[in-house]
């Protein structure tokens, strides 16, 4: 299906969802790069309503045939729906559609945040002179996500309950299964990490929080004035230990070659202090260590899965091949060094 084919089909869908509108036209359909877990398109919708002409820039996220992360689009959509009224910068979600007759695959439509950009996590200075101001907002918003009451904002809809003592095992089981199913060659470092994680379970978190699941450099939009306008890519969100997000945001992969400055923004000490103040929670070193090792393993699981998608021809998006080469390489090195130290400590 070409972009030209998509426009009238999206217009037909909008006509169904907006009975008050007439003369609906969709233009400027353009695929955005990097959304390897879901095809993301930018577009503009215009229509007549009550005698007035209206235009609204929109984003369409459609399920791919196969993806970097196999997730349900309704979980991501519900995260936007839960957090949008809270004031956290997320796009307004508009329509969720699972009927394949419209665009062949499930999709959702949300507000397009204009005049903003994301940044590449693989750039030594992803935010240039805006690094400090964006870094403070980045950790403030993550603290607010951790502080949110999942039930009160409706985030927990269609999610099973999970006890604080079980969240580590739930996540580890999930990602070990991905490696079991998708590895194309034995993974000694990943397997050693899984064994270490099972031998050394973390203390339970003081409460269950919303976990974004992919909160990092590149997954938020900011404007030229240095304001974060949208936190994106909630496809891996779930309920769990809020330190899971802290560890992922501070993972060395997103810091290029500066692990002391998570995400290329501000130093770890300042970042964690901001998060603690905003969340009302503490960065417990023992739990953080466990989630740091876990997140590097989770990364490996994602990159291993991406490599299989590409190798089998299920999805030939170049970003899958790139992440399987480069990100596997980084996380294997990070984990090998970390686990070697932990092994020495355990034997002493």
């Amino acid at each position: 299906m070409t972009m030209d084919d998509l426009a009238p089909r999206i217009a037909a869908y909008l006509a169904r969802k907006m009975p008050q509108a007439s003369q609906i036209e969709v233009s400027g359909v353009s695929r955005i790069h990097g959304g390897a877990s879901r095809e993301t398109f930018r577009l503009s919708a215009s229509w007549s309503e009550s005698g007035k002409s209206k235009t609204r820039p929109l984003i369409l996220r459609r399920d791919p045939v196969a993806s970097l992360i196999e997730t349900e689009r309704d979980i991501e959509y519900n995260a936007y729906r839960a957090f949008h009224p809270t004031g956290l910068p997320v796009p307004e979600p508009l329509y969720l559609e699972t009927d394949l007759k419209w665009l062949d695959r499930p999709f959702f439509i949300m507000e397009q945040i204009e005049g903003c950009s994301a940044a590449s996590p693989f750039n030594a200075e992803p935010y240039g002179p805006l690094a400090e101001t964006l870094g403070r907002q980045f950790w403030t918003h993550l603290g607010r996500i951790a502080a949110a009451d999942p039930k009160a904002i409706g985030f927990d809809a269609n999610m099973g309950d999970i006890a604080p003592a079980d969240c580590w095992k739930h996540e580890l089981d999930k990602w070990e299964k991905v490696i079991d199913e998708d590895e194309l060659a034995p993974q000694p470092v990943a397997r050693a990490a899984i064994r270490w994680l099972r031998r050394n379970p973390p203390p339970p978190p003081p409460k269950i929080s919303v976990v974004h699941g992919d909160y990092r450099t590149g997954n938020f939009l900011f404007n030229p004035e240095g304001h974060i306008r949208a936190i994106l890519d909630w496809e891996m969100c779930h309920l769990g230990d809020p330190l899971e997000d802290v560890a992922w945001a501070a993972d060395p992969l997103w810091a290029f070659q500066r692990p002391d400055r998570p995400g290329g923004m501000i130093g770890r000490a300042e970042a964690f202090a901001i998060w603690e103040k905003e969340s009302g929670l503490k960065v417990d070193p023992e739990r953080l260590r466990w989630w740091e090792v876990f997140n590097s393993l989770k990364g490996l699981a994602i990159w291993i899965s991406a490599g299989k998608e590409y190798q089998t021809g299920a999805n030939r998006d170049p970003v899958l091949a790139f992440s399987s080469w480069y990100c596997t390489d980084v996380h294997n090195r990070v984990l090998a060094k970390r686990l070697a130290e932990l092994s020495r400590e355990a034997r002493q």
Binding site: S30, R31, I32, H33, G34, R42, F122, N123, A124, A185, P186, Q187, P188, V189, R191, A192, R195, D317, P318, V319, A321, F322, W325, Y326, D329, N332, R333, A336, K337, L339, A340, S343, R344, R347
Partner: protein, 149 residues
């Protein structure tokens, strides 16, 4: 084969980035060209070193298995270690080296699992020896990343 593969890959990387990408007007296509260019840059290095890395890893794992076979008590594992220690790479084609590497890597997982569970005096030094290998192997495989200014 001249020009050398690494020169061609690095040349293509430059052409994609400087000559092709600026003339594309679709954001998705530009992103893909950028990623393909970076992977050509990495391929330039990987092509040159791929066989050497795999031969080194396979040789080191076999040496490690030979040492482990002398101390491990589990008869089945001991036999597998001894057999792997005596194997050789019959072909230098990458796919053949990868097959051997995968077989040896699988045995390494089994050995490391066994060693971690052991309290025998040899277990600590052998575990450290395995980690020395894994740290060196992952460092050796580090991919070059282009500096884009």
């Amino acid at each position: 084969m001249k020009p050398d593969v690494d020169q061609v890959m690095q040349g293509f990387f430059g052409t994609l980035l400087m000559d092709v990408a600026p003339h594309l007007n679709a954001e998705y296509s530009m992103g893909n060209v950028g990623i393909m260019g970076m992977m050509m840059f990495m391929t330039a290095e990987e092509h040159d070193r791929a066989a050497e890395i795999r031969v080194a890893e396979n040789t080191e794992m076999r040496a490690l298995f030979g040492e482990a076979a002398r101390v491990v008590e589990d008869a089945s594992l001991k036999a597998r270690l001894g057999e792997a220690a005596g194997s050789r790479d019959a072909s230098l084609r990458i796919k053949a080296l990868d097959r051997a590497n995968a077989a040896l890597g699988g045995l390494l997982v089994d050995l490391q699992t066994h060693v971690e569970a052991s309290k025998a005096p040899w277990a600590g030094p052998l575990e450290a020896r395995i980690w020395d290998y894994l740290v060196a192997a992952t460092e050796r495989r580090k991919l070059p990343f282009p500096s884009l200014g």
